[in-house]
């Protein structure tokens, strides 16, 4: 893993991208309590596309103090604010850093993307891309920079595969092939399946706990 961009002081930053409805907020809801219980100090920035629903959902869920969650509107340009012009997100993250000086980690949830979206490494240190089984078995075959370039690909909602006619073994094989050996994790964020694997990656690659 290239750590050359780890020159920025302050907490580590993780980007979470992926299509609307793939389970980005559910993933955050699954990993936040586990990170908090292990003593990780967290902040969250969300880029809701039209509403502040994701930010409000995280604030209202009781998982994390509401003042540690910020919503940033993206003017119908969810890709732009995580790549070409991430300035408002950077300012929001830096606000959290100034307000909570002991932060270890900031999670940034994008507003919902197509497969072409990627995160600027001026904005985040490491990023995940979340797709879901319900979108169809051919999503990995479509490739796309988001799916190929992310540090960790997450395939969520594996529990619904029998209901949407998706062969999970075939999907897994294709996802791993197009990723060229880079990690892919299959999750069901609702019951926690696969979440410990996601956390292990975060601890090793972002929090550098094994170094």
């Amino acid at each position: 893993m290239n750590l050359s961009h780890y020159h920025r002081p302050g907490p580590a930053r993780i980007g979470i991208g992926g299509p609307v409805g793939s389970g980005k907020t559910a993933l955050i809801e699954a990993i936040v309590p586990r990170l908090l219980s292990s003593g990780v100090e967290l902040g969250i920035v969300t880029n809701d596309l039209v509403t502040r629903e994701d930010a409000e959902r995280l604030k209202a869920g009781g998982l994390i103090s509401p003042d540690r969650v910020l919503g940033v509107e993206c003017g119908a340009c969810p890709h732009t604010v995580i790549r070409e012009d991430p300035t408002l997100n950077i300012e929001a993250i830096e606000y959290l850093e100034r307000t909570f000086s002991s932060l270890d980690l900031v999670l940034l949830e994008s507003g919902g993307d197509n497969l072409a979206s990627t995160f600027s490494l001026d904005l985040v240190d490491w990023w995940m891309f979340v797709i879901d089984v319900g979108a169809g078995a051919d999503i990995p075959r479509k490739r796309g920079p988001g799916l190929l370039q992310c540090d960790l690909l997450i395939v969520n909602k594996i529990d619904i595969s029998p209901h949407v006619g998706v062969d999970i073994c075939g999907l897994k094989k294709e996802a791993e092939e197009v990723r060229g050996g880079n990690p892919v994790i299959f999750t069901n964020c609702r019951n926690g399946e696969g979440i410990e694997d996601v956390l292990a990656h975060i601890r090793r690659c972002v929090l550098l706990e094994d170094m």
Binding site: V50, T51, E73, G75, A76, V81, T87, I90
Partner: protein, 234 residues
């Protein structure tokens, strides 16, 4: 090529870079009330957009933003006059009624200052430190004046870039709201260029005489504040 013409080309490129919507400034998140007016059906045609942008240029930018911009640019010419920037900021703040406009201006100001700090633009870091420590506000027009002055742009270039990026930002927002298309947006930007030229050909108001009158968009921004579904920050 003569040295003078080379210098002109570099100067032109500097203007183009700062006036380009590719320059990271956070502008995509702001509609200045346009989204609210579009939602309630008040603005739904090319003519409406033209009228809206015209009113933003003449009712807000010409009297308030421009006065703050020019004063801030002047305050940063030799060395940065922080006390003056703080005064200008407070005038801008007092003249901006809707809270979402004030917040948006501060966020956009923070965004441009953040970029120029990282670009090491002369004079910007000190002003930003005052803002981060709570001793200055950092409104957009004031921040633009400071950043553009530090970037070697003349006051006229600074005015042109500020007005042009406002027009382009609103035209872009109108496209994303589905009100106009890409060709209409270019017609609009061209039409507004003539208005920008008219405004800038007159002397800028002194900061002590800064004024603003944009009641329709102010009310629209206030309505936007309580809107549940929104794409834009204001």
């Amino acid at each position: 090529m003569s040295r003078e013409s080379q210098s002109n080309i570099l100067s032109l490129l500097n203007v183009l870079r700062h006036g380009d919507s590719f320059f990271p400034s956070g502008a995509v998140a702001f509609s200045y009330g346009l989204e609210s007016l579009s939602s309630d059906g008040s603005v739904n045609s090319f003519e409406h957009i033209e009228e809206f942008i015209h009113s933003q240029l003449y009712g807000r930018w010409a009297g308030l933003d421009r006065a703050c911009l020019v004063s801030a640019h002047t305050a940063c010419l030799d060395q940065v006059d922080i006390k003056r920037l703080i005064e200008i900021d407070h005038i801008m703040d007092a003249a901006t009624l809707p809270s979402l406009l004030r917040e948006g201006s501060l966020r956009a100001g923070a965004a441009i200052l953040g970029v120029h700090t990282k670009l090491k633009t002369p004079g910007v870091t000190e002003y930003r430190e005052y803002i981060l420590s709570g001793n200055a506000l950092g409104h957009l027009a004031v921040s633009q004046g400071a950043c553009f002055s530090g970037s070697g742009l003349s006051v006229v270039e600074t005015e042109v870039i500020s007005a042009h990026t406002l027009v382009v930002g609103l035209a872009s927002a109108a496209i994303r709201l589905g009100i106009i298309g890409h060709i209409e947006s270019q017609s609009l930007i061209s039409l507004m260029g003539t208005e920008i030229e008219k405004i800038i050909s007159l002397p800028a108001p002194e900061i002590e005489e800064a004024w603003c009158f944009s009641p329709v968009s102010d009310i629209a921004v206030m309505k936007h504040e309580v809107s549940e579904g929104r794409l834009f920050s204001n």
